[in-house]
């Protein structure tokens, strides 16, 4: 494993990896016992005050998700299915701090009087959770469900579908999960990292949580570093940290990089001139990037961004569940156009065709896979604008001498 445990004092918080070992004794030694008896309203107020947002991608405020969950036979789902091949932070968390995730799940379940708790994660992570469950004295009834290793298996409706039918494919959902989710019951679905933070907010309070990070992005975040980096670390960094700072925590020299893909394959590229901006939606607004699920994929100087992007767009196209026409046909078409640009085909309209296809698929699926894929293509064409022009004239700055 490649996680890095930071000195908690350095972060000013307990941190998510403060326990020396994943077992219960180490967990309680680091954080103390889980406080029980949080009421729905009290937890709602505390989460609101803390400013905790979802760490699964969408970044929705945790309190609002809780507020939108109707009462009565509710279901809480801890989602640990990352899907993205370059995201490993949820797996790291479930392996190193399973009790923190379970604390969060049980706490929020108690608060809303949930009748069923699920933890959904890949086969690699489940044994650690099962082991943690077995040693807990509160014996929470948490159903563990295996997530397939597929890009879209962690999408909210795919998760609910997987729990109901065993098929981890997204579904069209005219109603919100909080109203009608798992078997038509009010359902609260959180990323496992969000639940781990929630467990700490429930223990130490909103003010403590806000002692790390910035007013705009309080608390800490986990980042999966990948791509052109010496080691693929998972690091915990305070909210509002810059890309350069997060990379440094992972031992990466940002000056060696041309760009970083932020948020995941559904995210956006941030070029080197953006490395000193805070890693928040507001800070990276000009690039359309958000921290999302905490993916930072590095692209070294001298590597062709279009080549790297073409591979990702093709991967996204192949990850389509092939349920919705615009996604099933639009994504491969989009991937072909980006590949043609990357290959240096001298066809001037290719860039505008890629833009058109990205616009066409946006918003037209049961899930957000086409939207996220389109966002990535828009970002690629914008950030590597000059490179696109070079390619369309048959050259590539990364491959010197490579001309058509």
């Amino acid at each position: 494993m490649t996680e890095m445990t930071l000195d908690p004092r350095q972060l000013g918080t307990g941190g998510l990896f403060a326990a020396a070992q994943p077992d219960l004794a180490s967990h309680e030694a680091a954080y103390g016992k889980r406080p029980s008896g949080w009421s729905r309203n009290a937890l709602l107020a505390e989460l609101d005050a803390s400013g905790l947002t979802g760490r699964g991608g969408a970044g929705f405020p945790a309190w609002r998700k809780l507020a939108a969950t109707s009462a009565g036979r509710a279901v809480v789902i801890a989602n640990g299915a990352e899907g993205e091949p370059v995201s490993r932070k949820d797996a790291a968390l479930l392996r190193q701090a399973p009790h923190l995730v379970l604390d969060g799940l049980v706490t929020v379940g108690e608060a809303i009087g949930a009748s069923t708790l699920f933890l959904y994660a890949t086969a690699d992570s489940l044994p650690f959770v099962a082991q943690a469950l077995a040693e807990r004295r509160d014996r929470p009834k948490v159903k563990l469900v295996e997530a397939p290793e597929a890009f879209i298996s962690g999408e909210a409706s795919a998760v609910v579908n997987a729990l109901e039918t065993g098929i981890a494919l997204p579904r069209d959902k005219p109603l919100r999960l909080g109203k009608s989710g798992y078997e038509g019951r009010p359902t609260l679905l959180h990323n496992v990292e969000t639940l781990a933070h929630l467990a700490l907010v429930a223990r130490f309070g909103a003010d403590w949580f806000r002692s790390a990070g910035t007013a705009d992005d309080p608390g800490t975040r986990l980042y999966s570093l990948s791509g052109d980096v010496p080691t693929e670390w998972v690091v915990e960094a305070p909210g509002g940290a810059t890309i350069r700072e997060v990379l440094r925590l992972g031992g990466v020299d940002a000056s060696s990089l041309a760009a970083v893909l932020v948020g995941g394959f559904h995210g956006a590229w941030v070029p080197a001139e953006g490395f000193d901006l805070p890693l928040t939606g507001r800070g990276l607004a000009r690039y359309g990037a958000t921290p999302g699920a905490g993916v930072l994929m590095a692209l070294a100087r001298g590597r062709c961004g279009l080549e790297a992007s073409a591979g990702i767009v093709r991967y996204l196209a192949e990850s389509s569940a092939r349920q919705c026409g615009p996604c099933m046909f639009g994504l491969p078409a989009m991937a072909s156009v980006v590949e043609r640009i990357a290959a240096g085909e001298r066809t001037p309209w290719l860039a505008s065709e890629a833009e058109r296809l990205a616009g066409l698929v946006t918003g037209r699926g049961a899930c957000r896979h086409p939207d996220g894929s389109a966002r990535f293509v828009h970002s690629t064409l914008a950030v590597f604008r000059d490179e696109v022009q070079t390619h369309l004239s048959g050259m590539c700055t990364a491959h010197r001498g490579w001309t058509h």
């Binding site: 026409g325 046909f329 491969p332 078409a333 072909s336």
Partner: protein
């Protein structure tokens, strides 16, 4: 009077065959997603629907007049349960099978919104079985079967259905199939 029932029974059966042929044609055109000249796609769908109801009317007339006919002597159970008729049980029975399938198709068609797309679709496939049963019944028990005009009419219907099914199975059947295969 008996002759009237008999004649009417036959005539309504012959008309039914033609109308059901038209229903199958419109159904397949509908499935292709293509409009007809002067007829937009939704009109094709509506025409498919109304022609099937009209065909059902003639089919009910066909069955009920033959229930009144002393020669055919169809009893209510004979109408529902295949191969139980007193006269020409095998060939009449094929018609009974077709009749049962038509009832299932019409009922599920009318309740489409309520029973859900999956059930509707599964049962609607029976249309492809219904037509051959009706056709075999027309040839086998139709007393006009020896007449040349009837032969020409029935085989004409069969040729139309056969052509449409061949088209249905062809690669470019769906209007958008070319675009969807990436040949834009």
């Amino acid at each position: 009077m008996n002759e009237v029932f008999w004649a009417f029974g036959r005539a309504s059966g012959i008309v039914s065959l033609g109308l059901f042929t038209l229903v199958v044609v419109l159904g397949i055109v509908s499935r292709s997603g293509r409009p007809l000249p002067g007829l937009p796609r939704f009109s094709v769908a509506l025409l498919h629907r109304s022609t099937s109801l009209l065909a059902l009317v003639f089919l009910v007339l066909h069955v009920s007049t033959l229930m009144l006919d002393p020669h055919a002597k169809l009893s209510p159970p004979n109408v529902i349960v295949p191969f139980t008729a007193g006269w020409n049980p095998f060939w009449v029975g094929l018609g009974t099978v077709a009749f049962d399938l038509v009832i299932a198709l019409v009922v599920t068609g009318l309740l489409r919104q309520r029973i859900g797309q999956r059930t509707f679709r599964a049962i609607h496939w029976a249309a492809y079985a219904m037509w051959p049963f009706a056709f075999a019944h027309a040839l086998g028990s139709g007393t006009n079967a020896v007449d040349l005009w009837f032969q020409a009419y029935a085989w004409g219907c069969a040729a139309v259905v056969a052509c449409l099914i061949i088209w249905r199975l062809s690669a470019n059947f769906i209007e958008t199939s070319r675009a969807r295969l990436g040949r834009i």
